[in-house]
């Protein structure tokens, strides 16, 4: 025991802190050392990119990227913002993510309600159909989907390309269709936990199916819906594949996939790329900091009912 105490003197002073589970001190020290090392390694790439972003180009060119800072500046952020028209790409992301999240949740809760509360004969089969659809790799469906998107015409006020392809509407549709399965799975598990007596009471009161869905079930599912909303916002905002394959023109793409173009645009100025990358990360980081609990609850909902 003494040797371990010597190698990590800071921790040896509190070997039997109250409230700890019965782990031996050396186990504590090793765990702490491991987690501290991992945390440093996990933060390092992000911290380094941030460090590059806050240093002026002239500084890093003169001293190299791995050097002490001579000047720190936020100018890279404002330059990246204006020169790459990031506001425009952010707006595209908003136009895709917000409707998609709302529509997925609305549709999925309807399906989950019907599949858990009404006997439509093929309940389990339908649940499997939805769940399995979400598990397919995107590349399995992209080839026919791409052809389909080139075939479906849309009125010009919905899509200026006149097609599903290369339209914000098309991206919303595929994100909705693809995420439906996961949400149906999670919400139906959640709805199963609502006691049947509540529905019997509602029936006695003469509540219609729609009332039982909208007035009774949806309010009860609010925690699950909040958790899913944060999860979906991140997933759809972070989507890269659909936007790369189903959108031809860079100017309609959401910010995540537009980053690939920005990389080419700023190829000579890495500091600007770093700044642009950090700006693009802000929305998900805000979600993370403010709604971490809901986000992790959403993942747990999907996982705990295996």
């Amino acid at each position: 025991m003494t040797t371990e105490a010597l190698t990590a003197p800071g921790k040896a002073a509190t070997p039997s802190a109250p409230g700890r589970k019965r782990t031996r001190p050396w186990g504590q020290v090793a765990s702490q050392a491991f987690l501290i090392t991992a945390s440093v390694l996990w933060l390092l790439p992000i911290a380094f990119a941030l460090y590059v972003a806050v240093r002026p180009y002239s500084d890093t060119r003169k001293y190299g990227y791995v050097s002490l800072p001579h000047h720190l500046t936020l100018k890279n952020f404002s330059d990246a913002w204006t020169q790459s028209d990031m506001l425009h790409f952010f707006w595209n992301s908003v136009l895709i993510t917000v409707p998609a999240v709302i529509i997925v949740l609305a549709l999925a809760s309807g399906v989950a309600f019907v599949l858990t509360r009404v006997d439509v004969k093929f309940n389990v089969a339908l649940l499997i159909l939805f769940t399995a659809g979400n598990l397919l790799p995107q590349q399995v469906i992209i080839t026919p989907l791409y052809r389909l998107y080139l075939k479906i015409t849309l009125p010009h006020f919905v899509s200026d390309s006149g097609l599903m392809y290369n339209s914000i509407f098309g991206l919303i549709a595929i994100n909705v269709a693809f995420q439906l399965g996961f949400c149906v799975f999670v919400l139906s598990n959640y709805m199963k936990s609502v006691p049947e007596e509540m529905y019997e009471a509602a029936l006695v009161d003469g509540a219609s199916l729609w009332t039982r869905f909208w007035r009774l079930t949806i309010p009860l599912c609010r925690p699950a819906l909040a958790a899913l909303a944060t999860l979906l916002t991140t997933w759809i905002y972070n989507d890269f594949f659909w936007a790369i394959t189903l959108m031809s023109s860079g100017d309609k793409r959401p910010v995540t996939s537009a980053l690939a173009n920005l990389q080419g645009q700023f190829v000579s100025n890495q500091n600007l790329i770093a700044a642009a990358a950090m700006i693009a990360a802000v929305p998900t980081l805000v979600v993370y900091i403010l709604l971490q609990k809901q986000f992790i609850a959403g993942l747990s909902l999907g996982a705990s009912k295996g």
Partner: protein, 336 residues
């Protein structure tokens, strides 16, 4: 909305309101017309969407994989004629020729399969155990566990495209952090982490593991929370050490979560695309099946049938974990 409640009173009354307590679900036939319309809308619209944009294309991939088609002109059922210029042989039935060509003369195919398998192996052997270890240590409630959890989970919030860009500053040949620290930035001895085809897959896998293990960690944390704490107490009372307690008591109880993690691991390694695409568009050592599928349909030369055949390969592999997961999840419900 409030008007609906008394409009349907009559329907509910003739429904026989005090239903037997044992009946869990109410059959469609016992619903009023109004309710049946609601069911049709609530179920029908999402079902159509799912069928049209997910299942129809999935079946389409399987069918198209037996054709030869460049995407222009129409498809027909005639068999492709051998020894005819491909311009005349379009939209025709090609049998298993696409699969045969992929396996024999398409140079990127086997490297891509190998890379996907390596990807899977790294996720199974490194990312998953690492995530599990994080979860177990954090779950034991050691000091600062919430902070560790937040930090280790941070990369999962970032899109893979962003992960790729962030890591380029680590890996860059001349100015990257790694080469600077190990002193190999001059042109003669610099290590090209992302350019060297023998090295870049492993470099990208470090990025992927960096993100994946945080994901696995959270899934296991959810699973560990569900483990009854008295189980652990009982094991400790019986004199089991932490190692034995975990493998003999906790791990078996987490079986459902292990299946979820297994599915996530396999599917994520088949889906892997963003990281290699942002790094070098998936060439020169970073070929993956997903990249080949994409490049055959949205590239300059469109080989719809051939790309579909590659998609079917992905589909067949992914059906294994999907079936296991569905079987484990829905077995009980089918029985009840």
């Amino acid at each position: 909305m409030s008007s609906t409640s008394h409009v349907d009173t009559a329907a509910a009354a003739q429904d026989g309101a005090p239903a037997p307590a044992s009946r869990r679900r109410r059959g469609v036939r016992r619903l009023s017309l109004r309710d049946r319309i609601a069911v049709a809308l609530l179920l029908g619209i999402p079902l159509l969407l799912d069928l049209a944009f997910v299942w129809f294309p999935a079946i389409g991939t399987a069918l198209l994989s037996f054709t030869k088609w460049n995407g222009v002109g129409s498809l027909h059922t005639e068999t492709c004629k051998p020894n005819v210029p491909s311009i005349l042989n379009n939209g025709c039935w090609y049998g298993v020729q696409n699969y045969h060509q992929a396996a024999t003369i398409y140079p990127e195919f086997w490297p891509a399969v190998r890379h996907n398998l390596i990807w899977l192996a790294v996720f199974v052997l490194i990312a998953t155990p690492l995530g599990m270890l994080f979860a177990v240590l954090i779950d034991r409630g050691i000091r600062g566990s919430r902070m560790y959890q937040s930090i280790l989970f941070l990369p999962v919030m970032l899109s893979l495209a962003l992960v790729g860009i962030i890591w380029e500053f680590m890996y860059s040949q001349n100015y990257g952090l790694i080469n600077t620290v190990i002193g190999r930035t001059s042109d003669s001895n610099a290590i090209d982490w992302l350019g060297n085809p023998h090295l870049n897959l492993w470099s990208v896998l470090v990025e992927a593991t960096w993100r994946q293990s945080g994901y696995v960690m959270v899934l296991y944390l959810a699973g560990l929370k569900a483990v009854d704490p008295t189980l652990r107490e009982a094991a400790l009372m019986d004199g089991a050490n932490a190692w034995q307690t975990f493998w003999r008591v906790i791990f078996p109880v987490m079986k459902p979560i292990n299946i979820v993690v297994m599915v996530v691991t396999v599917i994520e390694s088949l889906r892997a695309f963003d990281l290699v695409y942002i790094t070098n568009k998936g060439i020169n050592g970073l070929e993956l099946l997903s990249v080949l599928v994409t490049s055959n349909i949205v590239g300059e030369t469109q080989r719809v049938g051939f790309g579909s055949a590659l998609g079917v390969v992905l589909l067949i592999i992914s059906l294994v974990p999907i079936s296991v997961f569905l079987y484990q999840t829905f077995r009980r419900e089918e029985a009840s």
